[in-house]
Symmetry: C2
Subunit: 477 residues, 2 copies
């Protein structure tokens, strides 16, 4: 709670990002390097994210469970690519109850291995399939360079883990959950993500195919905001997840995993925020409407507070907050709630009460243009409409921003230019060495190979070899 000016986005985006998180009290630094505390305002947003996703998971037939935090170190070594990917990031428990452990335990960086171990025990027959389990959990990855929400040693996520009879069903599930993520991002968070497939070098350690949703942040960098992996039979073979098929023959299952984390809060902050602070998407905002009563005398106070109570009751279906703090000016309160990104603010002063109306201000439209007078008798309906309008406007603006910063450079020289401040949607040969060279020369990586593209034949933007697909290249978080 401070009325000091934020660093401007245009001046130092990264500093703006840190400041807005700390000042809006979304999160704070923890005493252990790279860890964070998610404060009540930030956690309330995560709870809304959880609710929106969990409903979608249950509607697609999934159930929740809880697998252990601690995994025998040897488990991590059973899948070759998995261990290579995660070994450098492990936190290792070597002492328990005052004794050195015979086998060290790792804190889960992800749970394919321990869940694979349990599935091998639970699954006997095709009748037991599919297994469709999700868990909401904390995981630990020992990252060296950390950022609040975007990359922390411990983070919160959901991880879905499913087992299937056929390769086709596993692929169908992988894509279904990717689409659930995209639907959530667009329709709940107003974050217009692109869905597509990851390149070989960018896929999950142990996956056959990884799909992702990618969003463009307001500094034009890409943020991978959720991933869905088709694991083929890799983990089934490493953990012996077998079933008797319809012909009574033993087969390996086909498995998937998919995850979305507290990193998504970073996507929300950087997709919508402005120089005044956060702008939260109305369907996930912990407070959708803040009411600021304004009065100077005790007489005004009693009139205004009576009206405020009435308004509060009218808006019962929304997540509202009445800011009745004393000793703080209305102007300070306006700035404070703007910083915290509350989508709609209602001001109620003596004149408003006299007119039987409130002054409503939209967070996404600064100044007078965002203000309207709303009569009490249409307030409930208008409040709903305003929140929808904010959602749509945030989505439109973020989409337009992405489109205006996505380029189709004519050659590698132009590619190098546009990638400084935007995405390149360019033909690529698919060669990992070529991809590595582009990264070295431009710092841009392949973000995804979008599903939504025309059939294509041409030459790779970097090396000139044949290319049959176009890829999004971008600097990424």
């Amino acid at each position: 709670m401070s009325n000091e000016k934020l660093t401007l986005q245009s001046e130092d985006f990264s500093e703006w990002y840190n400041q807005v998180i700390l000042r809006a009290e979304l999160a704070d630094y923890a005493p252990v390097r790279g860890c964070m505390v998610i404060r009540p305002y930030g956690w309330a947003m995560w709870e809304n994210i959880q609710k929106a996703l969990d409903e979608r998971f249950k509607a697609t037939g999934h159930v929740n469970a809880a697998f252990p935090l601690l995994i025998p170190k040897s488990f991590m070594e059973k899948e070759k690519e998995h261990v290579e990917g995660f070994s450098p990031e492990l936190a290792v428990v070597t002492y328990g109850g005052g004794q050195e452990l015979e086998e060290p335990l790792v804190i889960r960086p992800t749970s394919e291995t321990i869940i694979g171990h349990m599935y091998a025990k639970w699954i006997q027959s095709y009748r037991d399939l599919p297994v469709l389990i999700n868990q909401w959990a904390n995981v630990v990855r020992w990252e060296m360079r950390t950022r609040l929400f975007l990359r922390t040693l411990e983070f919160y996520w959901q991880e879905g883990h499913t087992a299937h009879e056929t390769a086709a069903e596993a692929e169908e599930e992988t894509l279904r959950m990717l689409n659930v993520y995209a639907d959530f991002a667009i329709n709940e968070a107003a974050v217009p993500v692109i869905t597509g497939r990851k390149s070989e070098s960018e896929k999950f350690a142990g996956a056959v195919r990884t799909y992702s949703i990618e969003g463009m942040m307001k500094d034009t960098r890409a943020l991978q905001s959720g991933t869905s992996h088709n694991l083929g039979q890799n983990f089934a073979k490493a953990f012996n997840i077998q079933y008797l098929d319809r012909n009574n023959e033993l087969q390996y299952c086909w498995t998937t995993s998919w995850g979305l984390s507290t990193r998504f809060i970073g996507a929300i902050i950087m997709s919508h925020g402005d120089d005044q602070g956060l702008i939260l998407p109305p369907r996930l905002a912990p407070i959708q409407i803040v009411i600021v009563p304004i009065f100077r005398s005790d007489e005004e106070k009693s009139v205004v507070m009576e009206a405020t109570e009435k308004v509060k009751v009218m808006l019962g279906g929304f997540r509202i907050k009445v800011d009745d703090r004393v000793g703080i000016t209305p102007g300070f309160k306006f700035n404070d709630w703007e910083l915290r990104g509350v989508p709609v603010r209602l001001e109620i002063g003596p004149k408003d009460v006299a007119n039987q109306s409130v002054t409503a201000a939209r967070r996404d439209i600064p100044g007078r243009d965002g203000k309207t007078q709303v009569p009490f008798n249409t307030l409930q309906e208008e409040a709903g409409k305003m929140l929808t309008a904010v959602h749509n406007n945030l989505l439109d603006k973020a989409t337009a921003f992405r489109e205006s910063h996505t380029y189709d450079p004519k050659d590698y020289q132009e590619f190098k230019d546009v990638i400084q401040n935007g995405w390149a949607f360019s033909p690529w040969c698919g060669d990992t060495a070529c991809e590595a060279k582009i990264k070295e020369e431009t710092k841009a990586t392949t973000r995804c190979i979008p599903f939504n593209q025309e059939p294509f034949k041409g030459k790779c933007i970097a090396c000139g070899k044949d290319a049959s697909e176009k890829v999004i290249f971008a600097k990424a978080y």
Copy 2:
């Protein structure tokens, strides 16, 4: 899913407990000693517990947040009693990212220390108080003797942590949350708990006073099912949680903490279960009503399934499941859902359809006595009434069981007898040495000093010294 006979409760209560958990698929053993996997059926019950508690926490002004899993080892050492209590139970991370850590980190066994550290940073003035935060989290305690749900290395819980201006407010909060637990236990779980104060030796490591809810299990042992601690200024002094008071003077805060864990699922199992398996309290049961369609021919099937669909729609407000598994007899299904403790079963056969009714069976009343014919047109109302009746009956039976197994022995000899198969509600001098001697001689510990008792003057049941209170003694989990 097995129709083998369970071990009888009367034969081997402890074996019955393990079997019922594994067979009903509430939980399973994890590959790490002492850890468990909470399976979807068990986790769904925990989600219902979370919902019932979270509503109560929010109604009493609390908000949720998330503090880190990893705590610097030195933090644990700042509060003298706390470190003594928890040191033997710590899991210690010594390696991260392939490097030995300069300072080892412990996995939180509870979060007073790290939350205290953050509160010291966040709280400046009396205007910042009270701070009323809860978190839903996993914690790790390196227990040597473990039991599914009752005592596991990792468990799930909520831990509330609050900071206040005055000692009185902290005490009020501590008791408020104890009463929230009791209300939840009685009105949601039908577990008739006793509220009271813990003795000095049984209180939380670092608390000034600990209160608990205690339930009697069907083997007459006591289970501490939730605790609420008044921490006085102990943690405030250890972590420098200070505020400027209304006179602009620096003061230490008064703090509390309170927790209820997945152990409570053990309380539910052991309060209500019988030789056929679980009996789940209707308000927390993942499935409140199971519908078993019964038919022999295709013709019967189409009639029965049509009626089943209609019944399903009628019961839209309840958590229901239609068991339409093929190749499994109705008798097998009945046993299976009895094992899993579903409170009400509806059978729909051709005769039922002809009569425009269903056969309803209550899980808490075995055999014919629990069965009634319910016409379709009153089914929705009757289903609600039956679930309420099951709840009330479970609560009444558990209360009567506790009362009939709670004794007021006339001397220490009789005390030793009754404690073998019940609780003793007996005068106690309050001396820790006397308490230790009783424990050594009888294995009974002081469970709590109940609030609900008459003013008392008499002699200690064990040592004969003056006693001014009566205490519940019991063998405990």
